[in-house]
């Protein structure tokens, strides 16, 4: 079982969370072209090793988190809030 260390709730079972997706995508602006949107929502790298992905603590604090996880071993290197302002707060509180 993957255990995720939520910055707000502490280490919890992955069953409390919902997987989001690739956390490194920069979604284009709403008026961007179909081509740009196609790139953003359909094309994904199939990473072997560590990747940044979003998880929603849906049965917890409801925060969206960026989790740096190995797709091979499930090892988790880091967990941060998605929102950049909250990331800063989390950094400062360390």
């Amino acid at each position: 079982m993957i255990r995720i260390n939520c910055p707000y709730c502490g280490e919890r079972d992955h069953s409390e969370f919902s997987y989001g997706g690739d956390a490194t995508i920069n979604y284009p602006s709403l008026d961007a072209s179909e081509k740009e949107w196609t790139e953003a929502i359909f094309f994904r790298k199939n990473i072997k090793g560590f990747q940044f992905e979003t998880w929603h603590h849906s049965n917890g604090c409801r925060m969206w988190l960026v989790v740096e996880r190995s797709t091979v071993t499930h090892e988790i290197k880091s967990v941060k809030p998605c929102h950049p302002n909250l990331q800063k707060v989390a950094e400062n509180n360390k």
Partner: protein
């Protein structure tokens, strides 16, 4: 074979006599017996029939690796099949019976299968009964369907009761620093060392007693060890199996709480399913003795050497009178000595010629000899032996038991669950655990250590390893080298039988013979994983604990390779079977999943509602009067709404509070239609698309104040929409100043619909002016008070096509609101209506729900193009016209009438052209209802090209599942009041 209880042996409690039954006959045993030891003490040798050939089978082992003594325990709804007699503790009144035999294991009519062996060889099922690719639905399939039940019965295991399980099961959780699996010398040493270093330790033991294989020693007493462990505060869990290791040091345990008790307290669960989250795991799971493949090596009376030692020293049962031990290693000699001391006549065949062993000469050793063939069928009459150099029968020894030791396999299973491949050790002829970066350490004989002192040293080293990895210490340590016997083991897996057909079993439980392995090789199934599936080797509930290595060695020989080049199968959880009951725990029956009810749930039931499940919610389905059926009731309810007024609980809709200065901008981005100009005090119907342009959900948003909205979503998508809004705000549009809060549970909602709805509401609000057409026009919103000073929100929203209002109050006021509305609705001959009538009303009106918005349709497909703003960009706007979404043969929302208005149809009907009734047709019907307004059945659905293309054509509705077919007419989805004059009234 003659097995009997000895007076001066064993650690059973002879003061406590237990009676039990085997195949309906009564026997006696003692407290501390397993079912297997009690059967042996009563000289019962045949306890089962084999899987395919129905050969008589006895007890092969004394533990979890058992592949012969699988029996059925209990009766009626407590019948538990495929229980290992070797691990089932005896209790007073235990009922056990043999399985896979008719009429019983001693005389089994299907024993004839033994002579039809070639029909049951490897791959038999595949060859005989499967369709021939690529014609998968071939002749074989039909034959299989006919014969399946007979074959399953003939080649089978015990059967389940088929009745609901009367027992309860529990899920439990715990945390610790260190979990130690196995209470042998290594595990105990590790646990003690860790507890002394102040770690929080759980020690898990599958047996009822701690001690591991020491329990087979004649002078072993575990009471002192137990005290030591307890004094250090170690949590000891016996009768508990660590069945699987998972990510992040999570261990799955199965605790058998009452399986050993004759009349368990009904208030305690039968088993507990534990999830342990540890920081480090030490596995001292021991090693499992292997058998040797030779002809008739399955006759009752064949057993592992270590099992015989257990029966003698733990249970006081001598398993034979004239015993032949066949070995290739040193581990058997102590047992040989003890068996002869106990009165048996013992001969040891050792395949090795060049070795030294100290004995007191109480038994004979035949160096360089191997077992060749057992004579006998239900019992052993004699054993043909052979010289190991040149395999052939050289002489025959009269005996009643053959004990085997083909070497030992460390129990690397748990480590294998983590994807760590074991490595082959040539010196010890076994797989040893490899190192892992995870916090798991293998100790004792599960890392190939054969003597006790090495095991203890490895336990202490294991804990030091754990402390280092946890950053608590930095101490050097070393593990003893694998091995520990004086003379090296000589690999011996099979003694080849010279005659053409042999029954040399590799996997007893699934009746896999050495010939089956060779056949698989001849037919090209040479990879280990193919071999496993083709022959079913290692796939029974012992999971090949005894036979896997033998199978591998045979394949290695056939391929002219070494064992490690052939590979090993990956072990997966569970280590031993886990009952479905334990997996489901308390989540059974009504507790299978959460139940959601609205705050007026009881009110609805008290007023005659029949309920229906919608997702997790219980919603009113219909409110029958007297003898009304479902259809009588919903037709009356829907007609009443159109004629006067109806009240419907709509609380299950998702409700989200959206607050903050950027709320309007936010809504404008997530909805396809414009929200920037929505005035305060107005609501708007909106559609949300996904990023890829497909419709996600629809609902309404009410502007309560400049920076505050109240959003409703569909019942089914409420959770998804909430997560989606949070995701957008937290990951994508982090500059927007908006807060979203789920308020679904906080508000109770009701729809008041029908031409008299305003009059009803008028009587219910404090200030009757608030609901006039002027003050509350179509899509108007107001925050006001119901009589009794109850704050409420009212919006003039219609789902039925009638003049209608949605009224929300705080959940605590739900019943008061219902009482008030219902008292006034009755004055106008109104009704309560449920989901079925709601469905009828919305289908008549052409409103889409989840049946239509199924994650495949675009805004244009459902005829709501005008909801797609051209003045702004929004989620999905770039993608909604992409590629296939703009094809002009897409399926478009339409209404359907049966051509003959007396006919009916069902949702799921496939719409076809008249002369082309096949495949997926040109469309489908998604929702149907009887229309009280129109007086016949109507449907909503999709058809390629939509209304314009088919409005004058007769189509056919094909419903092959219900064997129905009807002619159809395509009509506008807005089947009543298309201009909406009623809503605006």
């Amino acid at each position: 074979m003659k097995t009997r209880r000895l007076d001066n042996y064993g650690k059973i409690n002879r003061d406590k006599i237990l009676s039990f039954s085997w195949d309906k006959k009564n026997y006696k045993g003692f407290e501390g017996d397993t079912l297997a030891s009690a059967l042996l003490a009563n000289n019962i040798g045949i306890v089962g029939r084999s899987f395919k050939y129905h050969r008589p089978r006895g007890i092969f082992s004394s533990g979890v690796e058992e592949s012969g003594a699988l029996v059925t325990i209990g009766s009626k709804d407590r019948r538990d099949p495929n229980v290992r007699a070797t691990t089932q503790e005896l209790y007073n009144g235990l009922e056990a019976s043999g399985q896979n035999a008719f009429p019983n294991v001693n005389f089994d009519l299907a024993g004839i299968n033994n002579y039809l062996g070639r029909f049951f060889a490897a791959g038999f099922y595949y060859k005989t009964f499967m369709g021939i690719p690529p014609l998968e639905w071939g002749k074989g399939t039909a034959i299989w369907m006919f014969f399946e039940k007979f074959i399953r019965k003939a080649a089978g295991m015990g059967s389940a009761s088929g009745l609901p399980d009367p027992d309860t099961y529990e899920h439990a959780h715990d945390f610790c620093d260190l979990i130690v699996v196995g209470s042998g010398p290594a595990g105990v040493a590790a646990a003690l060392e860790a507890a002394e270093k102040k770690l929080d330790v759980i020690l898990v033991e599958q047996d009822s007693l701690i001690g591991g294989n020491q329990l087979a020693e004649n002078d072993f007493d575990n009471s002192q060890i137990k005290n030591q462990l307890e004094n250090l505060g170690i949590k000891i869990m016996t009768r508990t199996t660590a069945f699987g290791l998972y990510d992040n040091c999570v261990v799955g345990l199965l605790e058998r709480v009452t399986d050993h008790i004759s009349a368990p307290n009904v208030n305690i669960p039968r088993q507990r399913f534990w999830t342990i989250r540890a920081k480090h795991i030490i596995v001292g799971a021991g090693a499992i003795e292997r058998h040797i493949a030779f002809n008739n090596n399955d006759i009752p009376g064949v057993m592992t050497v270590n099992a015989s030692k257990h029966y003698l020293n733990r249970y006081g049962v001598l398993t034979g009178k004239r015993i032949v031990i066949a070995t290739n290693n040193d581990s058997v000699y102590e047992t040989a000595h003890q068996l002869s001391e106990a009165g048996a006549n013992v001969t040891v065949l050792d395949s090795r010629t060049n070795f030294e062993i100290e004995t007191n000469k109480s038994f004979e050793i035949r160096k360089g000899y191997v077992p060749y063939n057992i004579n006998g069928s239900k019992k052993i009459d004699s054993l043909d032996i052979s010289k190991n150099e040149t395999i052939n029968k050289s002489e025959t020894i009269n005996c009643d038991q053959v004990l085997l030791s083909g070497g030992w396999s460390p129990a690397v299973h748990l480590l294998s669950h983590r994807g760590v491949k074991p490595k082959w050790d040539y010196n010890n002829a076994c797989f040893l655990p490899s190192d892992t970066k995870e916090n798991i350490t293998m100790v004792g004989s599960s890392r190939g250590l054969w003597n006790k002192n090495d095991c203890i040293a490895s336990g202490i080293a294991g804990t030091t390893d754990a402390l280092n990895r946890l950053g608590i210490s930095k101490t050097n340590y070393f593990f003893p080298k694998p091995g520990g016997w004086k003379n090296p083991i000589q690999p011996l897996y099979e003694v080849k039988y010279k005659k053409s057909r042999s029954k040399s079993f590799v996997d007893y439980q699934h009746d896999v013979t050495t010939d089956d392995v060779r056949l698989a090789h001849r037919e090209g199934f040479i990879s280990v994983e193919h071999l496993k599936r083709y022959t079913t080797l290692g796939m029974a509930n012992d999971q090949g604990k005894m036979g896997n290595i033998i199978g591998l060695s045979l394949m290695a020989e056939l391929l002219n390779k070494e064992i490690p080049e052939v590979g090993t199968t990956v072990f997966r959880p569970p280590y031993t079977p886990v009952s479905i009951g334990a997996l489901s725990g308390r989540n059974v029956g009504k507790h299978f999943r959460p139940l959601r009810v609205t705050p007026m749930h009881q009110w609805n039931i008290d007023h005659g509602a029949k309920m229906i499940e919608v997702g997790l919610y219980q919603r009113p389905w219909y409110y029958p009067k007297e003898n009304e059926t479902l259809s009588d009731s919903y037709i009356r309810e829907a007609s009443t709404v159109r004629k006067t007024v109806g009240i419907c609980d709509v609380t299950s809709l998702g409700k989200i509070a959206i607050q903050g200065p950027d709320s309007t901008e936010f809504l404008n981005r997530i909805y396809s239609n414009g929200f920037s100009k929505l005035e305060v005090g107005k609501a708007r119907y909106g559609i949300m698309l996904r990023d890829d342009g497909i419709v996600m959900d629809d609902g309404t948003s009410w502007r309560l104040a400049e920076n505050e909205y109240f959003m409703t979503t569909s019942t089914g998508e409420a959770a998804k929409v909430m997560s989606w809004l949070e995701e957008l705000l937290q990951t994508r549009w982090t500059d927007l100043n908006v807060n979203v809060t789920s308020v679904s549970e906080q508000w109770a909602g009701v729809s008041v619909a029908g031409p008299k709805s305003r009059e009803v509401l008028n009587n219910c609000v404090d200030d009757s002016l608030v609901v006039t057409n002027n003050n509350l026009p179509f899509m108007g919103v107001t925050s006001t008070f119901l009589k009794g000073n109850i704050p409420c929100r009212i919006a003039r929203i219609s789902f039925s096509g009638e003049l209608a209002f949605e009224v929300y109050v705080k959940s605590d006021f739900a019943n008061t609101m219902m009482d008030l509305l219902w008292a006034n609705a009755k004055k106008y001959d109104g009704c309560l209506y449920g989901l079925e009538a709601l469905g009828a009303l919305r289908v008549e009106k052409g409103h889409v729900t989840a049946a239509e918005l199924d994650g495949r349709v675009t805004i244009d497909d459902v005829g709501l193009s005008k909801m797609a703003s051209t003045k702004k960009s929004y989620i999905g706007s770039a993608m909604r016209k992409r590629g296939v979404l703009k094809n002009n043969d897409r399926e478009i929302l339409v209404g359907f009438f049966p051509t003959n208005l007396k006919e009916t149809f069902n949702a799921g009907t496939i719409v076809c052209e008249k002369n082309n009734i096949k495949g997926q047709g040109i469309g489908r019907i998604t929702s149907v209802t009887y229309s009280p307004e129109l007086g016949h059945w109507i449907g909503l659905g999709f058809v390629k090209g939509g209304l314009d293309k088919w409005k004058d054509t007769n189509l056919v509705g094909a419903d092959p599942v219900r064997n129905k077919q009807m002619n159809l007419k395509v009509v506008s989805p807005h089947m009543i009041d298309p201009k909406g004059e009623r809503m605006y009234a």
